[in-house]
Structure formats: structure tokens, C-alpha cells
């Protein structure tokens, strides 16, 4: 078997269904799972293809994190032909994320690349030769999708913070490297205590990020969605219908002082982050408020705009204004109140908006929501939505990588205290820098050389 790593991923659509499954595959699957699994059965010796009841426990404090069912499938009689452990947790995103984060924390298990289980199944001879092309397509499409998600995140606030942190680390690295590669140059001597201070500073920045991540403020993802429309077209009831039926995540974190209040929902497995929901609730006059700064920001930030129109009325001048303002944006027009006679001039609408971005629905009768789901899915996922390993997993990745980077910096600090030479301490610092780079999809080593030569005047 050529893969030595043990990998894990959530293998069910996130937010849907009563249970979620984390699949772990690789040589360490059973022994790693055992570390966190408290149960009557000893899974190390358990037979293949058996199911065990127990709890996932955080070894750090002995607390039970989640009640689970654990299935063991020993290689080669498994999907990947490797040892596989599947952990079934309660549905929803919170439980499964917590378990996955725990599994990844130590670094023995890493998060699976897009399509990696299938890739392994193929490489290990579990999948027929004729399906090679299908396997390739799966890897390609999953990677491209993951990439586009990552690109979106790369512009976010978290990413900016990580970039700043990385920049500070690379300046430190360049300084260490110049000391090593140009020992006779008149650059400031790099000392252990200098490295220690810088690493401790970086550590506390990461601590801050992790703390916010723990509180759920920054690392939640989903398609950022804004609902707009004239008064009384049914925005509030749409919102309520969406939230009540589909609420996937606990929201309204106490103590947050955000301007824009958000709701997280999972619409048939599609994660949506609904913006300014409070605004919609407190006043129905969104058309007026569209000029208000915070709503404008919300609209700018939105990946998706749901424009609600009343099908039972003629199109209003304000509607036309809204449509005009929102052209070139990803908009879905919702024709609400189709339970009543349709009065709106659909021909006029078709002249300014494409037919496949128009959804007829009736919030009252709860009809048309499945159509909305299809249209969103078509807009963002090329029509097919597979198990939700996109944004949620990337959150877990972020937390895991931040944790690893922090550990590397702690190692560096400890090494300086133990009197380890700077070129060896550098290994840990560099690792932290690379782990942060992995987070934002930027791990190129050439930039270290660029940094060295732009920061220092060298040469003969």
C-alpha cells in the first residue's frame, strides 16, 4: 500500500439527516480512533465489520464530546482496502465538527484531499479499471470546487489576519536565514531570545484567532445570502419558513455586537448564511433601508441575493429599481404568493431577468422551496451537490491548521529555552509558516528567498 497517511473526512452531507458520519482510513485508523473512544468494547481487537456503541472523549479533560456508533472495517475488506473506521454522530454540524476537530488535533490523522477516499480505493484496486476516468473526474471536480471555496475565503478577514501573521514570520525566517547563509555580513545577529519573543507574539495572535473560532464567530461559512424586497412581499415569512424548517446551527451567539445579525441554515444540504435577518424582522421597509450603510454592506458581501416580489401585484417602480441595482449580481427572483391569482406581468420580468433565475413559490403553502434549492444548487455547485465537504470541512481544516501552527511555535519557543541552535529552531518556525500558508492556500518556498533579498543587502 503506498499511502502511509491516515485520513479523515465527513462523508455525509452536512446539516442534513439524523446522523453524520466521519470516515477515517489508513494504517492508524483503528489505533487513533481508540484514543478518543470510550466504550465497553476494545476496538483494537474487535472483529472487522462490527459496530460499537460509546462516547468520543477529549483526552485533554476526559469530557465526553459526543455519543457515537463506531463501525470497524479492516482492510482489505473496506471501501479503500485500508483499515477504515466510521464514526456516526448526531446530525447537524456542531457535533460532527467537534469530533472531526478532535481527531485531527494531534496531526497523526490529516484531513482527506478532495476525492481522496475514492482515489485510494482505486489505487488499492478496489475500483474497476474502467472507472479510472470517473475517478479522475471526481477528483477534478471536487478539487476545483474546493479551490473556488478556498479562493472565496482567501479574501476574508481571517485570511487577512493569517497573511499578516505569515508576513511577520517570514521576516523572522529571512533574518534567521541571512544569519546562517551570510555569517560574515553585518546584519543584526539573530538570537534565541529574539526568536522566542517573536514566536510568543505569534502564538498569542493564533490564540486569539482560535478563541474566536471556538466561539463560532469567524469560522462559520456558507453561501452568504441576503433577502431583499418591498414591504409586505413576504420576506419575513420566507425567512421564518427557511429558518424554522432548516435551522442547522445554533445562532445568535450571546455577547456579539455585530451590526448584521445572521442565521445559518442548511437548505437541502446547501449551507446558507442569511444576512441582516434582524433587519428584515424589525422593519419591513427594506427598500428604504437599502440606502442604509449596513444593508448596503450586507448586499455587497452577499454571494446570493434573494429578491422577493409579490406575484399578486403589478410590478412596482421600487421593484424595477431594485432589479436594476442588482443586475450583474447573483440574484434569484422569488415570485411569492402564487397561491393567490398571479397579477404580475411575467413577460416584463422575463425581459429583464433570465427564466432560470425566477422561482415561483408560496411561502404560505410551503411550495416552491425545493425549486429554490435546485436553482441555488445550480448556481453554486454546477447542479449537483455532493456530501458537504466544502465549507464546513474547510473550517475544521482552519482550526486544525491553526492548532498545528500554534504547536510548532510552542515547539520553537521550547527549543530556544533548551538552548537549541537557531538553525534548528528555524525548522519549527518554518513549519508554522507553512501550516499557516496551507490554510490560505499559499505554501511556496521561493518567497522566502525573495524576502531575504529584499530585506537585506547582500553580495560580494
Amino acid at each position: 500500500m503506498m499511502n502511509v497517511d491516515t485520513i479523515a473526512a465527513i462523508s455525509t452531507a452536512v446539516g442534513e439527516g439524523g446522523i453524520a458520519i466521519i470516515r477515517v482510513s489508513g494504517p492508524e485508523a483503528v489505533s487513533e480512533a481508540k484514543k478518543y473512544f470510550r466504550s465497553k468494547s476494545d476496538i483494537a481487537t474487535a472483529d472487522s465489520h462490527t459496530v460499537h456503541y460509546g462516547h468520543i472523549v477529549d483526552p485533554a479533560n476526559g469530557e465526553a464530546v459526543e455519543e457515537i456508533l463506531l463501525t470497524i472495517m479492516r482492510g482489505p475488506r473496506s471501501f479503500t482496502a485500508e483499515d477504515v473506521v466510521e464514526l456516526s454522530t448526531h446530525g447537524g454540524i456542531v457535533a460532527v465538527k467537534r469530533v472531526l476537530e478532535l481527531l485531527l488535533k494531534e496531526g497523526t490523522i490529516r484531513i482527506a484531499e478532495p476525492g481522496e477516499f475514492t482515489k485510494r480505493a482505486f489505487l488499492n484496486g478496489r475500483i474497476d479499471l474502467t472507472q479510472a476516468e470517473a475517478v479522475i473526474d471526481l477528483i477534478r471536480s471536487k478539487s476545483d470546487r474546493a479551490f473556488s471555496v478556498a479562493m472565496k475565503q482567501a479574501e476574508g478577514a481571517l485570511s487577512r489576519k493569517v497573511k499578516t501573521l505569515r508576513h511577520e514570520l517570514i521576516e523572522l525566517l529571512a533574518h534567521i536565514e541571512v544569519n546562517i547563509d551570510y555569517p560574515e555580513h553585518d546584519v543584526t545577529e539573530m538570537t534565541s531570545s529574539f526568536i522566542r519573543t517573536r514566536c510568543q507574539e505569534a502564538c498569542s495572535v493564533i490564540d486569539g484567532l482560535l478563541k474566536t473560532a471556538g466561539e463560532g464567530k469567524i469560522l462559520r461559512e456558507g453561501i452568504v445570502t441576503a433577502i431583499v424586497g418591498r414591504p409586505n412581499v413576504g420576506k419575513s415569512s420566507l425567512l421564518n419558513a427557511l429558518v424554522q424548517e432548516n435551522k442547522a446551527i445554533v445562532t445568535d451567539i450571546p455577547g456579539t455586537t455585530r451590526d448584521v445579525i445572521e442565521e445559518y441554515i442548511s437548505l437541502g444540504g446547501i449551507p446558507l448564511r442569511l444576512l441582516d435577518t434582524a433587519g428584515i424582522r424589525e422593519t419591513s421597509d427594506v427598500v428604504e433601508r437599502i440606502g442604509v450603510e449596513r444593508s448596503r454592506t450586507a448586499l455587497e458581501e452577499a454571494d446570493l441575493i434573494l429578491l422577493v416580489l409579490n406575484a399578486n401585484e403589478q410590478m412596482h417602480e421600487d421593484d424595477r429599481l431594485l432589479i436594476e441595482q442588482l443586475k450583474d449580481r447573483p440574484v434569484i427572483i422569488l415570485l411569492n404568493k402564487t397561491d393567490l391569482p398571479v397579477v404580475i406581468d411575467e413577460q416584463e420580468l422575463l425581459a429583464i431577468a433570465s427564466a432560470d433565475s425566477i422561482v415561483r413559490l408560496s411561502v404560505l403553502q410551503e411550495s416552491g422551496l425545493d425549486q429554490l434549492e435546485k436553482v441555488i444548487s445550480g448556481m453554486f455547485f454546477g447542479g449537483e451537490l455532493e456530501s458537504g465537504d466544502l465549507t464546513y470541512v474547510s473550517n475544521v481544516r482552519h482550526i486544525t491548521l491553526l492548532g498545528h501552527a500554534r504547536q510548532s511555535l510552542v515547539d520553537a519557543v521550547e527549543a530556544t529555552e533548551a538552548g537549541i541552535p537557531i538553525d534548528i529552531v528555524q525548522i519549527d518556525v518554518r513549519q508554522a509558516w507553512e501550516q499557516l500558508g496551507e490554510m490560505i492556500g499559499d505554501s511556496v518556498s521561493e518567497s522566502l528567498l525573495d524576502q531575504i533579498f529584499s530585506q537585506f543587502c547582500l553580495g560580494k
Binding site: D5, L123, E133, I139, I180, C457, G459, K460
Partner: protein
């Protein structure tokens, strides 16, 4: 008049640091070898620093020596100063640096070549490669001599369409006013090699008798010099100091006032220069807030008064150079003997090479040194050894030898060149190596001497000695595990003296040696000595291997993981454009670089992890199909 001048196994063009190593390696491996140079007086000439080694570069010299190359032995015979650098840092970055007697270095190397069996040294300028059916079969010189060879190694340095620039003055020339090689460049282009224009430079040289050394700071060599070659045990070379001074405000003023005459800024220079080796005018413009720059005065040899002015590389006009020199403390009355200059030259885009250093377009043609886009004697020599070995092996019908990134800096350099290419003259830095702790200065023999022996460049005698050293080191590490240290007066006294925490119980000696502050030498004072006599070299090895075991193992684990990728060979006939699913950019890069393994493919810029996954699936598919066909 053309004439047939001889038949050889390997022909090496150019006798600089790459060429001499290539020729010596090939001849020592049993090949009839011809070494051609434009000027016989320029064998192993140092056109720039009279110095060898330093971080990464010194490591390469040791690797060359561990493989059976010549540079280490030659500098050990001819050094006029030896210093171990970075001694305050970890063992991986300790680095030996020597000042060479530039003339002795040449003479000794030339003599070694002349005395080597099967090696013919001849003066001649090659103007054309002879290529039959797409394969390189020989060379033709300016005088009409046709030499036939099974393989050819091209090491043209900065001679290829060389052009010297000094202020407003520009002329076709090789380094140090040597004849440039003009026609060969066209021949290479015609054969389909893509060339690129690079630039490098050198500072002026001055007369030592006109330097006021009292205004400078002395930089002596080490009292107990170490050596580059594992074969050198002793030297009584007399050492000469270097001298340190700085540029002055006046220097900066002169340069700023004359920038309009600097070809760097007037656009006269088209070649790309190295960032790590900027000219003084470049440094002053780019780092305007730095008030002064270091200048080292380095003797060029025992039998000359010439000094090399390190830090003052420049292509300013001659009159400005003299003013600059005289603005530097200690050089107020200096006489300039040679003017500094910039030189532009043609190089081959190195992604056109296999990791064996054979060109992809012209089988049996190898290139090494500056022609591959590198800079530095050591980088050149390191490639020279590999090109020589592989040209010889190809001539003998054997498989190429490739040093990988975990085995040596030579491997790092060649992999970087052929996989990523370079946009400026490439210099080795320790930070280019991902396994710096494995690629140490002290263990080059452990890494490469078994390979050198297998290739046939290391003698039985030397190999036996090497194995003995290895056994003794391993034996001593095992022994230290069993040697107990009690918390008695001697032990506690020693630990207190070293500022190390006292021990409560009996511990083994090995765990004590793990402590950063405890050295082998100090430990020796309180433990039963080894039954074998260990050299200083061996003791150092024991100490390093024990002290850094944790970090070393971590890196070894990484190497092991990646090794699986390195072992996955790409089929020779793979058509990347036909591999479904790979991104277009990756297809183009893969098709042009044609990596030998999945590992190499993964290091190509523009090839993503998803592309690699797809390649793995494709490869599996391919292998199963091939297996099914039988």
C-alpha cells in the same frame, strides 16, 4: 582544413571548475577522455573571489569530495586561509570557507589533470557540435580538428557570447579578457536549445603595497584549520589574513553622482543579474538608508601582491572605480591593478535538461556549470562531477546516477534547476534545502561515499577507512547507551560546571549527551573511555547524531514519506495532453519538463495536488493495462 583529430569516450569542453571535475570523473571511471579549453593557462581559474566554500557552497565541496571529486583535495593543498563559519550555530550549518592561492590552485589542478590516466588536456576552441541523427557524436574546433566522442559535456562558463561591460565601454570577451566563444552559441541554438542571457560581475583588484592596513580590521584564519577533503589529515600551509573595511559617505556620494554612467541603470545591460550578488551601485540605490557597506580585502595568493576587493563588484567606468576605491578607509592611496567589470553571457534554460544533466533535445550532450544558469565555483564543480559521471556511464551503457534532495545539496541544486528553472544566476543557499539537518557538513561522506565507491571514484582503501569510521561511530553510540553515570561527585560537579541540571538517579551517558550544554569532550572526563581510539571527527559525529536525534528522525520520516513519490516513475512515452482531467497549465509544464517521477512532477510550479492525484490514478491505470498486456 578539417581533419579527424581523435576518438574518445567522453569529450569535455571547457576546463573551469565544472569541466575539470567532469573530465577527472570520466577518466577515473575508465573512459578515454578529452578536455578542451580555449586557453591552457586558464585551467581551474578563479575569475572572481579567490575563495572556496561558505554555507551551502562548502557543503557542496565536501559532497564533491565524498563522491571522489577533486575540488576539496585541491583547495586543501592550496589554501592560504581556512575558517569554519557559523560555529555558534547548529552542526548542520557549520561551513568551511577557504581563501585560495589563486595561482597555486590552478597549477595544482592542471598538474593533477596532466597526471591522470586516460585524460588528454588540449587547447582548442570548439565552434560546433557534431550531431548525427539528432545525437551528439563529437565536436569541431576553430582549427578544423574533429574529435569524435560517445558523449560530450559542455561547460562554457561565462565565455558563451561573453560581453564585458565597464561604464560606457563594451566589448566581446570572456572573463578576464579571455577570448569569448561566439560561434558555439549559434550552433547550440540551431540544434534547438533555448538560450537565456545572464549577467555577473567582479570587483576591481588592487596592489597590496598601496593599502594602509592600519585603517582596517584583521580577519585571521582559524588556528587549527579543518579541511575540505576527508582524505586530508594534515597541512602546514601558512595562512594569510583578510582585512575588513567599509565604504564611506564619500563612496556613496561618488556613486550617486555617477549613476548616469552606470550601465546597470542606463540600460546597457540586458542580462539578468543575481540578486544575491549585486554590484555596489545596485546596493547603494536599493538600500539607500544603509550608511556603509562591508568591504573585505582578500589576498589573491602568496606570490602576488594583488588583493581582491570583496563587496565592490561594479561595472562603473574605470575612472569612477578608482575614485570609489580611494574613498574607502585604508585605500586612500591605492593603486588599481585590474578594473572591475560586468559580464553578460549565454546560458541554457536548465529545464531542458534531465536530472542526469543530459540535454533532452540532443541525446549524449551534457551541460554543467554556469551554462546551466548557476553561479559559483562550487555549484559548477558539483554539477561537473555529476555530468562527468553520467557522461561516462552513458558512454559505458549504464544508467544515470541521480542524487536526490535528501542526499545532498548537489541534488537540491540540480533538481531545482531542471524542475523549476531559474530566472537569475542560481546560487546555493542552505535555505534551499528542505532537509538541512540531514545535509550536514560533517556527514557528507556518510551520505555519498558509498555511492562514490559504487560509481568507481572512491578507492577500496578509502572505502575501507570510511566503513571503519562508520562502524566506530555506530559502536560508540551503542556503547553510550549502556554506560551508566551515577549522581556522584564527579558527575554532579561536571553538570554544575556546565550549568546543567543535576541528576537524581543513575542515567545512561547517551541521555546526558542529549542535553545541549553537555559535550562529548566533557562527558569523556567522567565516563569509562571507549576501548577504540576515536578521532575528533568521529567524536563529533557521535555527538551530533545523539544530540539532534529527535530532529534528525523527524526529517528522516518526511524523507521516507516522500520517497514513495520519488519511486513512482513516469512512463517514458507518457503523453500528458492525452491524460484526461489534468489542468491545461499543468499539461504544458509536464510536457516540457517531463519529470522522471511523481515526486519531481509535484515540485513543478503550476502542477497542483489535484493534478498529482490524477496522475497517480492515471499511472495506476497505465500500469494495470501494461500488466494486463504482459
Amino acid at each position: 582544413m578539417k581533419y579527424e583529430a581523435g576518438q574518445f569516450d567522453v569529450i569535455v569542453i571547457g576546463a573551469g571548475h565544472a569541466g575539470v571535475e567532469a573530465a577527472l570523473a570520466a577518466a577515473r571511471m575508465g573512459c578515454e577522455t578529452l578536455l578542451l579549453t580555449i586557453n591552457l593557462d586558464m585551467v581551474a581559474f578563479m575569475p572572481c573571489n579567490p575563495s572556496i566554500g561558505g554555507p551551502a557552497k562548502g557543503h557542496v565541496v565536501r559532497e564533491i569530495d565524498a563522491l571522489g571529486g577533486e575540488m576539496g583535495r585541491n583547495i586543501d593543498k592550496t589554501f592560504i586561509q581556512m575558517r569554519m563559519l557559523n560555529t555558534g550555530k547548529g552542526p548542520a550549518v557549520h561551513a568551511l570557507r577557504a581563501q585560495a592561492d589563486k595561482f597555486m590552485y590552478q597549477h595544482f589542478m592542471k598538474k593533477t589533470i596532466e597526471e591522470t590516466e586516460r585524460l588528454t588536456l588540449r587547447q582548442g576552441m570548439v565552434e560546433e557540435l557534431i550531431v548525427q541523427d539528432g545525437i551528439c557524436v563529437g565536436v569541431e574546433t576553430k582549427t578544423g580538428a574533429i574529435y569524435r566522442g560517445r558523449t560530450v559535456v559542455l561547460t562554457t562558463g561565462t565565455y558563451l557570447r561573453g560581453r564585458v561591460i565597464m561604464g560606457e565601454l563594451m566589448y566581446e570577451s570572456g572573463p578576464n579578457n579571455q577570448q569569448p566563444s561566439i560561434k558555439l552559441s549559434a550552433s547550440l541554438k540551431e540544434l534547438g536549445l533555448q538560450l537565456v542571457r545572464f549577467k555577473t560581475g567582479t570587483p576591481p583588484r588592487v596592489h597590496g603595497d598601496t593599502i594602509d592596513f592600519s585603517k582596517t580590521e584583521i580577519q585571521p584564519g582559524d588556528e587549527n584549520p579543518k579541511f575540505f577533503s576527508y582524505e586530508t589529515e594534515y597541512s602546514d600551509n601558512e595562512q594569510l589574513p583578510c582585512w575588513l573595511t567599509y565604504t564611506s559617505e564619500e563612496t556613496h556620494r561618488i556613486i550617486n553622482d555617477n549613476l548616469h554612467r552606470a550601465p546597470m541603470f542606463s540600460g546597457a545591460i540586458e542580462g539578468t543579474g543575481p540578486r544575491y550578488c549585486p554590484s555596489i551601485e545596485d546596493k547603494i540605490v536599493r538600500f539607500a538608508d544603509k550608511p556603509k557597506h562591508q568591504i573585505f580585502l582578500e589576498p589573491e595568493g602568496k606570490h602576488t601582491s594583488e588583493y581582491y576587493v570583496q563587496g565592490l563588484s561594479t561595472s562603473m567606468p574605470e575612472d569612477v572605480q578608482l575614485s570609489i576605491l580611494r574613498s574607502i578607509p585604508g585605500l586612500e592611496k591605492v593603486e588599481m591593478m585590474r578594473t572591475g567589470y560586468a559580464i553578460e553571457y549565454d546560458a541554457v534554460v536548465p529545464t531542458q535538461l534531465w536530472p542526469s544533466l543530459e540535454t533532452k533535445v540532443i541525446p549524449n550532450l551534457f551541460t554543467a556549470g554556469q551554462i546551466n544558469g548557476t553561479s559559483g565555483y562550487e555549484e559548477a564543480a558539483g554539477q561537473g562531477v555529476i555530468a562527468g559521471i553520467n557522461a561516462a556511464r552513458k558512454a559505458q551503457g549504464r544508467e544515470a546516477v541521480i542524487i536526490d534532495r535528501s542526499q545532498g545539496y548537489i541534488g537540491v541544486m540540480i533538481d531545482d534547476l531542471v524542475t523549476k528553472g531559474t530566472s537569475e544566476p542560481y546560487r546555493l543557499l542552505t535555505s534551499r534545502a528542505e532537509y538541512r539537518l540531514l545535509l550536514r557538513h560533517d556527514n557528507a561522506d556518510l551520505r555519498l561515499t558509498p555511492l562514490g565507491f559504487e560509481i568507481g571514484l572512491i578507492s577500496e582503501e578509502r572505502y575501507a577507512k570510511f566503513n571503519r569510521k562508520k562502524e566506530l561511530v555506530e559502536g560508540e553510540i551503542e556503547r553510550l547507551k549502556t554506560v551508566k553515570v551515577k549522581p556522584d561527585e564527579a558527575a554532579l560537579g561536571l553538570l554544575a560546571e556546565l550549568g546543567s541540571a543535576p541528576i537524581q538517579n543513575t542515567v545512561d551517558a547517551l541521555s546526558l549527551l542529549r542535553r545541549p550544554e553537555v559535550t562529548y569532550a566533557s562527558l569523556e572526563r567522567i565516563i569509562i573511555p571507549s576501548p577504540d581510539v576515536l578521532s575528533e571527527d568521529m567524536k563529533e559525529q557521535v555527538e551530533i547524531q545523539i544530540k539532534y536525534a529527535g530532529y534528525i528522525e523527524k526529517q528522516l520520516l518526511q524523507v521516507e514519506r516522500l520517497a514513495k513519490m520519488e519511486k513512482k516513475r513516469m512512463p517514458d512515452d507518457i503523453d500528458y495532453n492525452a491524460v484526461h482531467g489534468i489542468a491545461t497549465e499543468a499539461k504544458q509544464k509536464l510536457s516540457s519538463i517531463r519529470p522522471l517521477s511523481i515526486g519531481q512532477a509535484s515540485r513543478i510550479a503550476g502542477v497542483t495536488p489535484a493534478d498529482i492525484s490524477i496522475l497517480l490514478v492515471y499511472l495506476e491505470h497505465y500500469n494495470r493495462v501494461v500488466a494486463a498486456r504482459g
